[in-house]
Amino acid sequence: DTAVSQTPKYLVTQMGNDKSIKCEQNLGHDTMYWYKQDSKKFLKIMFSYNNKELIINETVPNRFSPKSPDKAHLNLHINSLELGDSAVYFCASSQVGQGISYEQYFGPGTRLTVT
C-alpha cells in the first residue's frame, strides 16, 4: 500500500510551459505539504494545507499555485516554468494536533527538469 504517492516521477519540459504535479495520501492525515529539494539536497518547505486550507506559503513565486480538492489530495501547478525551477519536488503529509509532532511522511518525489 502506497502511503503518499506523486505523479509524475519525472517531468522534463521547456521554459515557459505550464505543468502540474499530483499528490495523494491514504494515511488519513489532515495536513499536506510541498517541499523543494535543490541540487545540494537542501529541503525547503513551500506550502502546507490543513483540511484544504492554506496554512503556510513560504515566499514562493505566484507562478506556483497549490490546490487541495480534499484533505487527501494536494496538487501543485506551475506556470511559466523557469530554469531555476529545476529540482525535486516532494509531497508530504502529517497528522497535526495537540502534543503530536509534525512527523512527515514523504512521497517518492517528482524530478522536474526545465530546459
Binding site: 518547505i45 509534525y102 512527515q104 514523504f106 518525489g109
Partner: protein
C-alpha cells in the same frame, strides 16, 4: 528565522567504523526529527526526540537531543554499507519543520 546547521556535510568511512552527525541551532525546537533519504526516494523518518536530554536508540543508531533543545546528534556504531544515504535533521517550530542541509554518508565495504 530558524536555522539548523548540520555537520559534516559529507562522510566516507569503512564498514565497521563509528560516526557521529551533528545538528546545531541557536533556536529552541519543540521536537527534533531525523530522516534518512536514499537516492530516488523521499526521506523516511527514523526518530523523533522531544524532551531535552532525551536519548533514543534504534539498533546501532543512537539519537540525542540537547538539554536546551537546540541541538541533536546521531551516532552510528559499526556502520554497514546499508547505512549509506542522506541523513537529515529537522526541527519543529512555528507549525512547520526546518531542515538541516543534510549529511551524505557513504559506507565502503
Amino acid at each position: 528565522t530558524q536555522l539548523l546547521e548540520q555537520s559534516p556535510q559529507f562522510l566516507s568511512i569503512q564498514e565497521g567504523e563509528n560516526l557521529t552527525v551533528y545538528c546545531n541551532s541557536s533556536s529552541v525546537f519543540s521536537s527534533l526529527q531525523w530522516y534518512r533519504q536514499e537516492p530516488g526516494e523521499g526521506p523516511v523518518l527514523l526518530v523523533t526526540v522531544v524532551t531535552g536530554g532525551e536519548v533514543k536508540k534504534l539498533k546501532r543508531l543512537t539519537f540525542q537531543f540537547g538539554d536546551a533543545r537546540k541541538d541533536s546528534s546521531l551516532h552510528i556504531t559499526a556502520a554497514q554499507t546499508g547505512d549509506t544515504g542522506l541523513y537529515l535533521c529537522a526541527g519543529e517550530g512555528g507549525n512547520k519543520l526546518v531542515f538541516g542541509a543534510g549529511t551524505i554518508l557513504r559506507v565502503k565495504s
